[in-house]
C-alpha cells in the first residue's frame, strides 16, 4: 500500500491533488458530479474586495493542447464569499480549503486577507499576484520583486494563516520573485499562473478574445510549469504548490520530483470534469510502476 499523503508546511493533505483556483468555482457544481471530499483540498475561485462581473465576452479561445481565458476575476466579492459561498461549500466539502485572494492595491489584498483570516474553514491563503486579465493589478505585483514583497509583507501582517503567493510565469527571473516573497515572510509559493497569450480570428481579422490578450493554460504549458517549479524549489526553502498543465498521475509525480509538495489541476477540469478524481485514483498504480512507496520521498528529488 503506497502512501499518497503529503504536506504543505504544517498543513497535512490526504493526497497532493488540488483543483486550481478558477477551474472549480466554489465547489458546488462539482459536488453534484462526484464526492469532492476525495480531493486533497480546493483552491476556490479568486476573490476581490468588490464584486466583479469580469471582462466582456468572448473570454475563451481554444489552442492546441490548451486554451486562453480572459475571465477577469469574475467573483461575488469577499463579503458574499464569506457569507454565502464558503458556508455552502462547507456543506459539501468537509476538509480545510485554500482561499484565493486577488486585488488591485496592497490595501485591497490586506483587507481581503484580514477578513478571510477569521474563517476557520480556510487553512491556507493563496495570494494571486499573477492574474493577466485585469489592468492595474494582479500581474503587475507579480512581475516585480519589490512589489511582490510588499504585497506579501502586507498580507502576512494581517493573518496568522499560512500564506502562499501565486506567481506569474510572465517574468524573466522567477527565482528572484520567489525569493523576494520568501524574504518578506511567505509560507509557500504557488506557480504557475497562466502565460499571456493571444489568438486571432483570421477570417474576421481581429482577436478571438474581446480583451485581445488572455491567459494561456492547459497541457501545452506543463513543461514551462515543471521548469519554473524546479527553479523555485532550488532557490527557496518554503514549500511549493505546482500548477500548470497537469493532466495525469504521471504529471503529478513529475511535478513533485521537480519540487512541488502538492499539485494543482486547472484547465484539465474544464474538458474533463472527472480529471481530479481520475488522477487521484490512478496515483497509487502510477507510483507502484515507478517504485515509489511514499510521495513525500520524491518531493524535489531532482536537483
Amino acid at each position: 500500500m503506497v502512501d499518497i499523503s503529503t504536506s504543505l508546511g504544517k498543513v497535512q493533505l490526504d493526497n497532493p491533488v488540488i483543483p486550481a483556483s478558477g477551474t472549480f468555482g466554489f465547489g458546488l457544481e462539482m459536488a453534484e458530479v462526484y464526492d469532492i471530499n476525495i480531493l486533497g483540498s480546493i483552491s476556490v475561485k479568486g476573490t476581490t474586495r468588490e464584486a466583479r462581473l469580469g471582462n466582456p465576452t468572448p473570454r475563451i479561445a481554444e489552442c492546441p493542447s490548451g486554451l486562453i481565458n480572459s475571465v477577469g476575476l469574475q467573483n461575488p466579492g469577499i463579503d458574499a464569499v464569506i457569507s454565502h459561498e464558503l458556508p455552502e461549500l462547507r456543506k459539501v466539502f468537509h476538509k480545510p480549503i485554500i482561499a484565493n485572494i486577488s486585488g488591485f492595491s496592497v490595501d485591497e489584498y490586506a483587507h481581503c486577507c484580514s477578513l478571510i483570516d477569521k474563517e476557520e474553514q480556510v487553512e491556507i491563503i493563496e495570494v494571486n499576484i499573477s492574474c493577466p486579465n485585469v489592468h492595474n493589478g494582479g500581474m503587475a505585483f507579480g512581475t516585480d520583486p519589490v512589489a511582490a514583497a510588499e504585497v506579501t509583507a502586507a498580507v502576512k501582517a494581517v493573518t496568522t494563516k499560512p500564506v502562499f503567493i501565486k506567481l506569474s510565469p510572465n517574468v524573466t527571473d522567477i527565482a528572484a520573485i520567489a525569493k523576494a516573497c520568501e524574504a518578506a515572510g511567505a509560507d509557500g509559493i504557488t506557480l504557475i499562473n497562466t502565460l499571456l497569450g493571444m489568438r486571432i480570428d483570421t477570417r474576421r481579422r481581429r482577436p478571438v478574445i474581446a480583451n485581445k490578450m488572455g491567459g494561456f493554460s492547459g497541457r501545452a504549458i506543463f513543461p514551462v510549469a515543471v521548469r519554473m517549479v524546479w527553479q523555485v524549489a532550488q532557490a527557496c526553502s518554503i514549500p511549493v504548490m505546482g500548477c500548470g498543465g497537469v493532466s495525469s498521475a504521471s504529471d503529478v509525480i513529475e511535478m513533485m520530483m521537480a519540487g512541488a509538495s502538492a499539485v494543482q489541476v486547472g484547465a484539465e477540469n474544464l474538458r474533463n470534469p472527472y480529471a481530479c478524481k481520475e488522477i487521484i485514483e490512478a496515483l497509487p498504480r502510477e507510483m507502484e510502476s515507478l517504485g515509489i512507496n511514499s510521495l513525500k520521498e520524491i518531493i524535489g528529488i531532482v536537483k
Binding site: 478558477g22 477551474t23 472549480f24 468555482g25 457544481e29 462539482m30 453534484e32 458530479v33 475561485k45 462581473l53 469580469g54 465576452t57 468572448p58 473570454r59 475563451i60 479561445a61 481554444e62 489552442c63 492546441p64 493542447s65 490548451g66 486554451l67 481565458n69 475571465v71 469574475q74 478571438v208 492547459g218 497541457r219 484547465a267 477540469n269 474544464l270 474538458r271 470534469p273 472527472y274
Partner: protein
C-alpha cells in the same frame, strides 16, 4: 450532468453547411433547449451543441460547420464513439400556460426548436414556427416540422423560399396569432423580434464556452439581474432579463 460514451448511428448533410447526427446510448433525459458538450478528436475543449431531439435514448443533433471541431464532427462515421457531457443548461420552460406559442428560429438556431415544438404540440398547445435563413439551400428539417402538425412559415433573405426578408416580416405578413414566444438565433434577429412585439417569451443565447457546466465563468453574460453563466443559468433567458 452525466458523462456518457454515445455511438454515432447516422451522420449526414441535410442542407448547405448543416449536418444531422444521431447518437445512440443517451440514457440521460434531455429537455428542449438544453445542450450537450462533445469531445471531438484531439481538440482541447469540448464542442457545445444544442439538443435537436431526444427520444427513446436517441439523441439527434443538427449542427453547422463553423470550424475545425465541427468539420471533424462531420467526418465521423456510424459506429464512432463520442465522449459526451449530457444534459447541460436549463432549457426552455415548457410549463408556461400558453394557448398558442410562436417559435422563432434563425439559421442553425432552429435546431433546438424541434424538440420544443414536439413537446408543446404534444401537450395541446397551438404551435407556429417561423424560421429565417439566408436562402432556400440552408433550410433543414422542413418535413420533420410539418410532420408534427404545426404551422410552419419560412423567411429567406433572398426570397428563394417563403417570405422575402426576415422572420419579423413573415410574422407580420401572415398576421400570426400567439401569446408566448420562444426564440433561438442570431442576436440581431432576436433583438428585432423583441422590438416588434411586447409578448412575453424566452430566448436561447450562445457564447464561446470553456467548460459548459458552470465552473470556469468563461461564458458569463450581463443580464438585468446580474451576470449569468450561459451554460448554467442559461442558455435560455426570459426576454425581460436580456440586455440588448
Amino acid at each position: 450532468m452525466e458523462r456518457l460514451t454515445l455511438t454515432v448511428t447516422d451522420n449526414r448533410q441535410i442542407a448547405n453547411g448543416i449536418w444531422e447526427m444521431k447518437l445512440s446510448g443517451c440514457t440521460a433525459a434531455c429537455r428542449p433547449g438544453q445542450f450537450v458538450n462533445l469531445m471531438i478528436g484531439d481538440n482541447f475543449l469540448r464542442r457545445p451543441i444544442s439538443v435537436c431531439n431526444w427520444e427513446d435514448g436517441i439523441l439527434t443533433l443538427a449542427y453547422k460547420i463553423v470550424g475545425k471541431g465541427t468539420s471533424e464532427m462531420a467526418a465521423m462515421k456510424p459506429g464512432a464513439a463520442i465522449d459526451t457531457l449530457v444534459p447541460l443548461g436549463n432549457g426552455f420552460d415548457t410549463s408556461v400556460d400558453c394557448g398558442s406559442a410562436l417559435l422563432v428560429g434563425g439559421g442553425i438556431g432552429t435546431a433546438p426548436l424541434y424538440m420544443l415544438a414536439r413537446t408543446l404540440a404534444a401537450k395541446g398547445c397551438k404551435v407556429t414556427l417561423v424560421t429565417g435563413y439566408r436562402n432556400a439551400g440552408e433550410i433543414f428539417f422542413a418535413d420533420e416540422f410539418k410532420a408534427l402538425g404545426i404551422d410552419v412559415l419560412v423567411a429567406t433573405e433572398d426570397g428563394s423560399c417563403g417570405t422575402k426578408g426576415f422572420v419579423t416580416d413573415a410574422i407580420r405578413q401572415n398576421a400570426v396569432d400567439y401569446d408566448y414566444i420562444y426564440a433561438c438565433g442570431p442576436m440581431p434577429m432576436m433583438k428585432a423580434l423583441c422590438a416588434a412585439t411586447d409578448t412575453a417569451g424566452e430566448m436561447s443565447l450562445e457564447e464561446r464556452m470553456g467548460c459548459g457546466f458552470g465552473i470556469c465563468m468563461g461564458c458569463t453574460c450581463k443580464t438585468m439581474t446580474g451576470g449569468k453563466r450561459i451554460c448554467k443559468e442559461g442558455p435560455v433567458f426570459k426576454r425581460e432579463d436580456i440586455i440588448w
